[in-house]
Amino acid sequence: MLNKYLFLAFAALWAIFFLYAWSLSRRQAQVRRELEELKNKVAAGPSSHSQPS
């Protein structure tokens, strides 16, 4: 049987890596979304810049 400390160490390691990768991908998705919104605003023309979103 796998030693419980060995199991916990590997489980914790993967949890830490996955949590960080998940947080990073969430922030990337948010920046992509904001960039896309800004691109659309710019494409819509100068008059739309001061319009509330």
């Binding site: 796998l2 030693n3 400390y5 060995l6 916990l8 160490a9 590997f10 914790a12 390691l13 830490i16 890596f17 960080y20 990768a21 990073l24 991908s25 922030r27 990337q28 920046v31 992509r32 904001e34 960039l35 800004l38 605003k41 710019v42 100068p46 810049h49 001061s50």
Partner: protein
């Protein structure tokens, strides 16, 4: 900047490398005579520690580069190194006590190596908090760079702590003098595992650098859009 691998390919290589490393940790490396199975934590613990040291070195290089040239790329390198390094340093502080409990009978002791590693983790935390909570533009980068440079002093002292002082922490496996060292199969396993960690580190750094650059571009576009109506 052109990349050798696409991020997807890089992630795939990392995953395959980790599978090889896991095979070696559990099936190739021999079982240590006195500690038994729990000694296998050593491969991920040491790999995390070496990677955290490398990350803080990048924080130092990026911080020095920023203070010297005021280059946003250098600042991004320091910022990414600080964040990814925090992840690996946290892994060191979690896997260490899980090895110490069955081997020493205690989770933690304030010996030189453990204390200095905890200080390194606090340095990563303070570096990231400075970046997050100092809002005036330019000031956060400069203050963080100063912390990044001064804090780097901890890394060589932490690395040398088990050579300079008598500690509860095991003696070094590399250049540790007479009686130290590893079985050749353990050495190969350790190096392959560290390679997998470095591959993951490079992947996370690449993704974090992309985020920093995209964030900078986003701010620049926003500033441009905010200025434009008054120019009309």
């Amino acid at each position: 900047m052109s990349k050798i691998f696409s991020p997807t390919m890089h992630l795939l290589v990392t995953l395959v490398w980790f599978m090889v490393a896991l095979y070696m940790v559990f099936l190739y490396a021999p079982q240590e005579a006195t500690m038994g199975e729990v000694q296998r934590i050593f491969y991920i613990h040491v790999s995390s520690a070496w990677t955290a040291f490398l990350a803080y070195f990048l924080v130092f290089v990026g911080s020095a580069g920023y203070l010297w040239k005021r280059s946003p790329e250098a600042d991004h390198l320091a910022q990414a190194g600080g964040e990814v390094g925090f992840v690996f340093c946290s892994a060191v502080l979690v896997t260490g006590p899980l090895w110490a409990r069955p081997v020493w009978g205690i989770w933690w002791t304030w010996d030189a190596r453990l204390t200095l590693t905890f200080v390194l983790w606090l340095l990563f935390v303070s570096y990231l908090m400075l970046r997050r909570y100092v809002s005036s533009p330019g000031r956060a980068e400069t203050l963080a760079a100063v912390v990044g440079i001064i804090g780097f002093v901890d890394v060589p002292i932490d690395y040398m702590a088990i050579r300079w002082w008598r500690t509860q922490h095991p003696q070094p496996v590399m250049a540790g003098g007479e009686g130290s060292g590893l079985d050749p199969r353990m050495w190969v396993t350790l190096l392959v595992t560290w390679g997998a960690f470095l591959c993951l580190f490079a992947y996370l750094m690449g993704e974090r650098l992309w985020l920093a650059e995209a964030g900078r571009q986003l701010s620049a576009i926003r500033r441009g859009l905010a200025i434009r109506p008054s120019e009309d």
